[in-house]
Assembly symmetry: C2
Homo-oligomer: 249 residues x 2
DNA sequence: CGAGATGTTGACGACCCTCAAGTGCAGTGG
DNA sequence: CCACTGCACTTGAGGGTCGTCAACATCTCG
């Protein structure tokens, strides 16, 4: 019995917005269809692209979710992509991917043709698209920054808790409930992502549940005390050396 | 006795390139001076900006280096900025910083006025600048991705080794030797960044030195076996589940 | 040269990884 | 519909890694 299956409405779809901007500039609406492929279905486990493949499209997750692995082999998990998020935007200006992405569950994607986009930019037509892409890339960098911070927390409980909280925030930013969602990934994938053993992930989930901060039933997550989870991001007392309080001239 | 003091030549300076593009479009060369402040000196420990400050400038590290802390208090280290790197690019489209940056050592910065940049973009003048900013933001995201991977390595030796290797790569990409450099940060700052105890950092440095992979004398680093360090990024044998080898229709 | 910060070392204990066994869930075929 | 099978998930025991604390060494800067 599927409860919440997150699906991004097209009016909330980042690529669709871009496509609209693109489309509005061109004489006919049909141009839109040339640039964006909407609702491209994808099955669980199927690859979007492999490391080494040429960069052809931006992919927006419409429903379902994706995982990306560092390099060609699925050794270490590089990141997760939730509905509403764009896969591969940081590779936009590169020739080839240096990672591999595939679907974690059945779902659908929107594709935007990168070379088309490049042409549009060459033609100096679409300042809006440029600004949009820049803002999206910057936002992506901010999310990565958060992920690095989470991954760098000193103990496993903090990492897991902050990870769950961050996932909720990401769901929320695309219109889904922040405090109740279904984990798209396995314990093993979470573990690989965070640099932990799968057993540790399980034990920490249990520990957080024992504190009544979350409720977890296999993949279903309910966040009971978001503030407590967020507080895990702040390390305990030990401060570093103070910033010199000199006023610049 | 200062050995290598990394200084970015202005022709290698990312902001200067941007400024040149900007300058060329304007009637007089003086416009350049309005947008970019070059060689702004900064003392060790002095802040570039605090969390909550309005975003006014992009800062490029010309010489010396910077550190950034999450939030207002210097609790956890968010990242380091080496000569040739830009501080705050992922905040470019935000109102205010949500982190604090300050100088790790005496040095100098180039500043680029963000509002001026915005005006230039509004005027649809400077496609080149846009493309440059987009490429820079994407490259920054790729670097953050690497940092997340390093930070998420399962044991301390891997994290320290990969961190040293990555620092070398970053130096190299701005024209400095990759295998011989001076650490701009303390052990404690490294530790905070990687989620470790300072003592562990010291012990792992010693361990890497015992393997003849690096030589470390306080802050002076010499990388003896870069391949071995790079290999630390790859986790040991345990692979994850295979990617479904189904061909997309 | 002295004082304070930074770096280093050792002992001990907590945390987390490893290994191995067992449980539950989902998809498949009888 | 239900047993079967495979995989994900869970649990426990034991050992290695890393954090903590305290003492000491070294470096830096005035």
């Amino acid at each position: 019995m599927p409860r919440h299956i997150p699906i991004v409405l097209c009016r909330n779809c980042a690529l669709y917005k871009t496509a609209l901007v693109l489309g509005l500039e061109s004489p006919a609406q049909e141009a839109l269809h040339e640039v964006v492929i909407r609702n491209h279905p994808i099955e669980k486990g199927q690859p979007l692209f492999y490391a080494g493949d040429p960069v052809r499209h931006l992919y927006l997750v419409h429903s379902g979710s994706c995982i990306s692995y560092d390099g060609a082999e699925p050794r270490q998990v590089r990141g997760f992509h939730l509905p509403g998020e764009i896969v591969g935007i940081e590779e936009m200006d590169e020739e080839r991917y240096n990672h591999t992405a595939c679907a974690l569950e059945d779902g659908s994607l929107c594709q935007l043709d990168v070379s088309r986009l490049e042409e549009a930019l060459e033609a100096e037509e679409l300042i809006k698209v440029q600004r949009y892409l820049l803002a999206t890339a910057a936002a992506h960098a901010r999310q990565l920054q958060k992920e690095r911070l989470i991954t760098g927390l000193p103990n496993a409980e903090q990492r897991i808790g902050a990870f769950l909280y961050n996932l909720g925030q990401r769901f929320q930013s695309h219109g889904f409930p922040a405090l109740q969602y279904r984990l798209p990934m396995s314990r093993e994938e979470m573990a690989s992502y965070l640099g932990l053993a799968p057993e540790t992930v399980i034990r920490m989930l249990k520990k957080l549940a024992a504190k009544k901060w979350v409720r977890v039933r296999t993949r279903q997550v309910e966040i009971l005390d978001p503030d407590a989870l967020q507080a895990l991001l702040t390390r305990t007392p030990p401060n570093l050396t103070k910033i010199k309080s000199a006023a610049k001239n």
